[in-house]
C-alpha cells in the first residue's frame, strides 16, 4: 500500500514542480532513495566502517581471517535467534520468549538423552518439536485470541524459563559426558579451517538460515504476505491474505528456529546448561534494530539483522582487544540502537 501512495505522491509532485525537478535530486536525496530501497545498506556501511576503524587501530590482531571468523562464531547464536526475531518483528509483533525457548529446547535435548535414555536424534527431534509447539501457542494466542504479542510472549518467556529450571533442577550436563555418549548433541560445534579462518557448523547453519529466509521473504508468496501482514493487516486480509495463518506460521517458525539455536548452543558451550541464554531476547532485538528492521512492522530485511548482529560482535571484540572496560561496549551499542532508529526515521521521510 505504501508503495502505491509513494508512486501517487511522486506523480503529483512531478506534475506540479516540473521546473525544480533537477533540484530535488540532490546527492542527499539520492542517498536517501538508495537507503530506502535497500534497508540492509545502512547496517552494511556501519559494519564495514567499524571493521575498518578497529582494523586500523588493532592491525592484524583484529583484521585477520581468524579474528573475523571468531566474531561470526560469537554472534552465531544471537544471530540465529535474531533471524527468528526478525520474522516476528516484520509482522509488527515482538517475541520476548526466544531465549527461553532456546534454552528449554537445549535442556530437553540433553535431559531426554541422559535422563530418559532416548537416542540423541530422537531427543533432538523432541527439542525441536517443543520449540515449534511453544511457537504455535504464541501464534495461536496472538492470531486467534487477539492478545498483544508483547503480553503473550512476556508470559511465555516466564513460563518457558520456569519450566526449564523446574524440569532440569538447574542441573548441568557436562561436556565430557556428552562427548562420550551423545556427540550428535555437539554437532554444530564441529569446526573446520579454511586458511586461518575457523568456521563451525553452527556458523554455516546461521549463514544458510539467513540466506534461505532472505530468499523466502523476497521471492515467495508467503514472504510477501509476511510483509503485508506487518504493514497493514486489514488491507492484507481484504486482499485475500490468510492473516491468521501467516501469523501462526511466523511464530511457529520462530519457535523451531529458536530450538535449532538451542542445539547450536550445546555445540558452542559443549555442555547443556539451564542458565544459558538469559539475555538472548534483548540481544536479538538489539541486532534486529541495529539491522534497520522497523519495530512497526512491514519493513526491513533479514540481511540487515545479519549485519546488525555482526556490528555488535565487531564492537564487543574490538573494544575488548583495545582493553576498554566492558561498560564502553554497552554504552556504544546503546548509542547505535538509538542512532539506527533515528536513521530509519530519516529514511522513511523519503516517501512523504
Amino acid at each position: 500500500m505504501s508503495n502505491q501512495t509513494e508512486a501517487d505522491t511522486s506523480l503529483v509532485n512531478r506534475a506540479e514542480t516540473v521546473a525544480s525537478f533537477e533540484h530535488q535530486h540532490t546527492l542527499l536525496s539520492r542517498l536517501q532513495h538508495a537507503l530506502h530501497s535497500n534497508p540492509a545498506l545502512v547496517p552494511l556501511i556501519v559494519l564495514v566502517l567499524s571493521i575498518v576503524v578497529f582494523g586500523a587501530l588493532l592491525g592484524t590482531k583484529f583484521f585477520s581471517s581468524f579474528a573475523l571468523t571468531l566474531i561470526l562464531q560469537q554472534v552465531a547464536i544471537v544471530g540465529i535467534v535474531g533471524a527468528a526475531q526478525s520474522l516476528v518483528i516484520m509482522t509488527a509483533g515482538i517475541d520476548l520468549s526466544v531465549g527461553a525457548i532456546m534454552v528449554l529446547s537445549s535442556v530437553i535435548m540433553g535431559q531426554f538423552t541422559f535422563r530418559l535414555g532416548l537416542p540423541p536424534a530422537v531427543a533432538i527431534a523432541c527439542g525441536l518439536a517443543v520449540g515449534t509447539f511453544i511457537g504455535f501457542i504464541n501464534g495461536w494466542l496472538i492470531a486467534r485470541i487477539k492478545l498483544p504479542p508483547f503480553i503473550v510472549t512476556l508470559g511465555m518467556w516466564q513460563i518457558a524459563l520456569a519450566t526449564n529450571f523446574l524440569y532440569s533442577g538447574n542441573e548441568t550436563i557436562r561436556a565430557q559426558d556428552i562427548e562420550a555418549n551423545a556427540p550428535l548433541l555437539q554437532f554444530f560445534g564441529t569446526s573446520f579451517n579454511v586458511g586461518g579462518a575457523v568456521f563451525t557448523y553452527g556458523v554455516i547453519f546461521f549463514i544458510l538460515l539467513v540466506l534461505v529466509l532472505a530468499y523466502a521473504l523476497r521471492h515467495t508468496a508467503w514472504g510477501r504476505h509476511v510483509y503485508a501482514v506487518g504493514d497493514d493487516p486489514e488491507a492484507a486480509a481484504l486482499s485475500g491474505v490468510n492473516t491468521k495463518g501467516i501469523l501462526i506460521s511466523v511464530y511457529m517458525l520462530s519457535g523451531v528456529i529458536c530450538a535449532f539455536a538451542g542445539w547450536v548452543l550445546i555445540g558452542r558451550i559443549g555442555s547443556v546448561s539451564p542458565t544459558s541464554g538469559q539475555s538472548a531476547n534483548i540481544e536479538s532485538i538489539t541486532a534486529v534494530v541495529i539491522g534497520g528492521i522497523s519495530l512497526f512492522g512491514g519493513r526491513g530485511s533479514i540481511l540487515g539483522m545479519f549485519f546488525g548482529a555482526l556490528i555488535v560482535g565487531v564492537f564487543s571484540l574490538g573494544l575488548r582487544l583495545l582493553g576498554a572496560d566492558a561498560q564502553w561496549t554497552y554504552l556504544l551499542i546503546g548509542a547505535l540502537i538509538i542512532g539506527a532508529v533515528a536513521v530509519d526515521q530519516w529514511i522513511r521521510k523519503v516517501s512523504t
Binding site: K61, F66, A67, L70, Q73, Q74, I77, F165, L166, G169, N170, E171, T172, R174, A175, Q176, G189, S191, V198, L265, R268, I269, G270, S271, S273, P274, T275, S276, G277, Q278, S316, L317, R320, L321, G323, D325, A326, Q327
Partner: protein, 328 residues
Amino acid sequence: MCLAALTPAAMAQDVSACLITKTDTNPFFVKMKEGAEAKAAELGVTLKSFAGRVDGDHETQVAAIETCIADGASGILLAASDTSAIVQSVQQARDAGLLVIALDTPLNPIDAADATFATDNFLAGELIGKWAAGTLGDEAANAKIALLNLGISQPTVDVLRNQGFLQGFGIDLGDPAKWGDETDPRIVGHDVTAGNEEGGRKAMENLLAKDPAINVVHTINEPSAAGAYEALKSFGRENDVLIVSVDGGCPGVANVRDGVIGATSQQYPLQMAALGVEAIKAWADSGVKPEPTEGKDFFDTGVSLVTDAPVEGVESIDTAEGEALCWG
C-alpha cells in the same frame, strides 16, 4: 525493645526459623535448603523456606522477611540478593527480636546482620593462586594470566576470589577492593562471564584473541571454567593451560578429576545452613548470639582445595574426597 526482650523466651517451646535464599533452582541453594531442613528436623525446629524467583529478585526477599516477622519466627537465615537494599528490612526483623544470620553473602555493611556464616572467598582464591604458582614453579615468573570474572558490577564475592587468587599467585594488588587496576605484565586481561558456560567461552575467546599464549586461567566458578575449556579446545590449547576455579559443585569436581580444571576451592553450603539453624535454636533457647571466627568479621564455614596434583605447602584433598563432599 520490650518485644525484643520477650520474643526469645516466648518462642522457646516452639522454635521456628526462616530460610530465605536467592533462588530455588541454583544447586548451591538447593543444597543449603537440604542442610537447613535436616538440621531443623534433628533439633525440632520448624523451618519455613522462601526464595526469590530469579537471582537479584530483591522484593520477594523483603516480602519473605515481613512474613517471617509476622509469623513470630525466632530467626532468619538469609542469602541476600541485594546486599545493601535489604539492610532496612533486616533491621526491622532485628528490632522485632529476630536473630538474622547472613548465609554465603555478607550484607553491606557486614554488621547489618547479627552474624555471617560464609566461605572465606579471599582464602578460596588464595589457595588456587598458590596452587597455580606452585604447579608452574619457576615458570610462574613468565606466566600469562587470564582472569574470568563474574560481572562488570564487581560483586564482593567476585572481587574477593579474584584478588585472593592474584595474591596467592604472588601478584601485587592495586586496590584490594576492586579488580582490574593491577599493573603486573603477567596479566593478559580481565573479562566477565555471568558465571555460566556461554560467558566463560566468550570471555576466554576474547582474551585468547588478545594473547594466544595465555597459560593460566582463573575462573570465578566451575561453569565458566567449563566454557573457558571449550574455547581453549577450539584453539588447540586445552592441554597446556592451567585452569583454576572456585565452588566445589559436583560437575566441577568431576571436571577436576577429568583434568579439565586443575584445582578448585570447595565451599560448603550444607554446613553453612546447618550451623545457622543451630545458632537460631541457641538464640531462642538462651539468647546467645553466634561469635565470628577469630580474626575475621564473619563465621568461616571452611574451604578446601580439591586437586589430584597436590603442590607442596598447599593443603588439599583429592577428587574422591571432594566428590564425597560436593553439592549440586
